[in-house]
């Protein structure tokens, strides 16, 4: 094998080499990030006109705990568990939630839910019906004290939830360009080199460390919670 083709094979295998990965992580990526820092993309589903985009929307709310010790995490568990009845009654009254669950994952309290319609209406109605539970939860969350009592800080609380809801990556990968353009104020249709997509994704992940991949799978898309209850004769 010639020197050139040996070198060629070596370069082909570079991305897997430990030293290259180290270089990429600690030098190459930060270099690009410094030159072209991406603004953080907003969380949650993006507004759309289609009915099937407006029902069964995903919320991945990640709330960092203030006290990450075992005691702190136990307190978070208790705060939710002791208020379970209020939470469920509240969700019934909101009327637009398909599923909701609370998850403690590492140092975060997460609320993962599937809901219909506009998320700020969902949160606002939720606050109206179980505001005191939110207050309890916010007292355990990093930066949450300024939002208590939530009923008197509705707008700020909605903005905060929006901030902590995970960015949803577009269903079609090349749409990332358009989202970045919009966020940076560039006009729609700005040309981009297709080959730069991996870099744009890597840099976006610097700004949005966590994300949700697309809108997710739905077995029976396009129907609201109330429609399901109505159609199956459960009353809504």
């Amino acid at each position: 094998m010639s020197l050139e083709s040996r070198f060629g094979r070596y370069v082909d295998a570079l991305p897997e080499k430990a030293w290259f990965k180290f270089l990429a992580t600690h030098v190459v990526v930060p270099y690009w990030n410094w030159g072209d820092p991406k603004p953080k993309l907003p969380g949650g589903p993006r507004p759309s006109t289609q009915p099937s985009e407006n029902v069964q929307r995903m919320m991945n709310l990640v709330m960092p705990l203030a006290d990450t010790s075992s005691l702190g995490r136990a307190k978070a568990v208790m705060a939710i568990a002791q208020n379970a009845e209020e939470i469920f009654a509240g969700l019934d009254n909101v009327g637009t939630v398909h599923t909701a669950r609370f998850v403690i994952l590492e140092d975060n309290l997460c609320m993962i839910s599937v809901y219909d319609g506009d998320f700020s209406n969902y949160i606002r109605d939720f606050i109206e019906t179980i505001g005191s539970v939110f207050d309890d939860v916010m007292s355990l969350v990093k930066g949450g004290e300024v939002l208590i009592p939530t009923a008197q800080n509705v707008d700020a609380f909605i903005d905060w939830v929006h901030e902590h809801d995970l960015f949803q990556a577009p269903d079609f990968p090349t749409e990332l360009f358009a989202l970045q353009d919009e966020r940076a104020g560039r006009k729609r249709g700005t040309p981009h080199e297709l080959r730069s997509l991996p870099r744009e994704l890597i840099l976006q992940l610097q700004a949005n460390r966590n994300l949700s991949l697309g809108g997710g799978y739905r077995a029976y898309p396009g129907v609201s919670a109330a429609q399901v209850r109505s159609r199956f004769g459960m009353g809504w």
């Binding site: 029902v55 509705v154 707008d155």
Partner: protein
């Protein structure tokens, strides 16, 4: 916080509909800050011959020649020098502005901001929406000149970026022929029973709202935010010919499908309109069900078979002006489980009243005060033209997100509040496309008849989110360093 504000500190158009004949909205750009501030100061003082006086909320025996109120956009507040920390205290939707909220409001396709005419195609230039109300156009012209010409030294205060004129069609009609403005949140009127009265916080920042315990953020500093409110200024073109054409098609389809008896009570044609054929009566039934009121304002829920116009049955004013009977049925009604008013009708979408809705906690929480007037030439169905005509004005509510936007995105479009209509948009003003639109008529036998294929009848032709500051707030703005 006192129970009730000093009315002299509020802008008058929040609590009062002036009921003038003509209106003019001036879309202004602040070109010289100091001059604009002088203008505000003079307008508040109300004693200048060069500047129209701001009309306050005090109830007057006699209205001035020109009533004058103004709203500021986020860009406008910034242009007047509001400090950044206070600008940041305004709600997100106001900061972003109506143009950037287009997807949420259903402003796409022909209604998209990209198609809005000047000045709304350059939202960064829209700083002030100043509204003049008068009985004669000459009065409007005089006041417009004052605004255009006002200068401090050689610096003009404002550039007039756009002008929109409107007028009151007789009987409060809109281009589509319906009587509008019947139901408004009734804040103070002691004649209105409690169940229909709305709390002050519906239209004023800093007061309790219908939602228990909820208080919306009042922008800082308190002098700027308190007793102010938000108003959505919107220009809506109404395709009257398209609407009438669609009614023809719908009536044709209903007759072809042998559905006439399911909709038309025997002999009802004459009561629906004195010279209507069956076809004509069906048209009116479709129009009434799509709106939720017959064209004369009779609520469909109160009288599903025919309108009650000119009749004391409605509890309306007698023709000689004597007050109505004990109940004004035009507005004092509710939607029950057996109501024949279609759930998807326009009225029922924008105000479901006490009817059962999915968002159980939200009844009566999304009310808006509407101060709108007709624009464009009169509509004569016999003379086809391409003129733009429609409705423009203010939708006033203390919180844009909780009231205006919430109605637009989940109720008016999408129909999320009732499973029978979810996935469809308001037949009159929703974001419809003929390929996908649908609306269920209620039949007399309790069933439903689905109409399809109607286009969008109302197109957005511009607008802005504005803040209506109190008089002390305007004074604060006029003195910003």
């Amino acid at each position: 916080m006192s129970q009730f504000p000093d009315l002299a500190e509020l802008q008058g158009n929040i609590l009062h509909g002036y009921r003038r004949a003509v209106v003019r909205h001036l879309v202004l750009e602040v070109v010289d800050r100091a001059a604009a501030q002088r203008f505000l100061a003079a307008s508040i003082a109300g004693d200048s011959s060069d500047v129209p006086a701001i009309t306050r909320g005090t109830i007057l025996e006699k209205l001035p020649d020109v009533c004058f109120n103004l709203g500021l956009t986020y860009e406008g507040l910034r242009a007047l020098g509001t400090p950044a920390t206070h600008l940041a205290s305004f709600p997100t939707e106001f900061v972003e502005g109506m143009t950037r909220r287009a997807a949420k409001l259903g402003d796409f396709g022909a209604s998209a901001p990209e198609s809005w005419p000047s000045p709304f195609d350059r939202p960064e230039r829209v700083h002030v929406v100043a509204t003049l109300y008068a009985d004669k156009t000459a009065s409007l012209d005089r006041a417009t000149e004052q605004v255009e010409n006002f200068a401090a030294g050689s610096h003009s205060a404002f550039a007039v970026a756009g002008v929109r004129d409107g007028r009151n069609l007789d009987g409060n009609k809109v281009i589509f022929g319906y009587r509008d403005s019947i139901s408004q949140p009734s804040i103070r009127n002691d004649d209105i029973p409690d169940r229909v009265r709305d709390p002050l916080g519906t239209v004023l920042l800093g007061y309790p709202t219908r939602s228990e315990g909820i208080v919306f953020r009042v922008p800082t500093p308190p002098v700027l935010g308190r007793n102010g409110t938000f108003s959505v200024f919107r220009v809506l073109a109404q395709d009257a010919f398209g609407f009438e054409d669609y009614l023809d098609r719908a009536a044709d389809e209903l007759i072809a499908d042998h559905d006439v008896d399911r909709l038309l009570a025997p002999g009802a044609e004459k009561r629906i309109g004195s010279d209507l054929t069956q076809h004509g009566a069906l048209r009116e039934i479709v129009a009434a069900q799509m709106c939720g009121r017959w064209r004369d304002g009779t609520p469909y829920a109160v009288s599903p078979d025919w309108p009650l116009s000119g009749s004391t049955e409605l509890g309306m004013e007698e023709s000689d002006g004597t007050p109505p009977g004990s109940r004004d049925l035009r507005n004092d009604f509710d939607y029950g489980p057996t109501s024949r008013c279609p759930v998807g009708s326009h009225m029922r979408r924008v105000n479901p009243r006490g009817g059962l809705i999915v968002q159980r906690i939200a009844n009566h929480t999304r009310r808006l005060v509407r101060r709108g007037m007709t624009y464009g030439p009169d509509f004569d169905p016999a003379i086809r033209d391409d003129e733009e005509r429609g409705l423009l004005g203010h939708f006033i509510g203390a919180n844009l997100g909780a009231q205006f936007e919430a109605v637009m995105c989940d109720w008016l479009n999408l129909g999320l509040h009732h499973p029978d209509i979810t996935g469809s948009n308001d037949p009159l003003i929703g974001a419809n496309q003929p390929e996908t639109s649908w609306f269920d008529l209620t039949a007399r036998d309790g069933g439903a008849i689905r109409l399809r294929g109607f286009p969008r009848f109302v197109t957005t032709r511009g607008g802005s989110y504005t803040f209506l500051p109190s008089l002390p707030a305007l004074s604060y703005l006029s003195k910003l360093p």
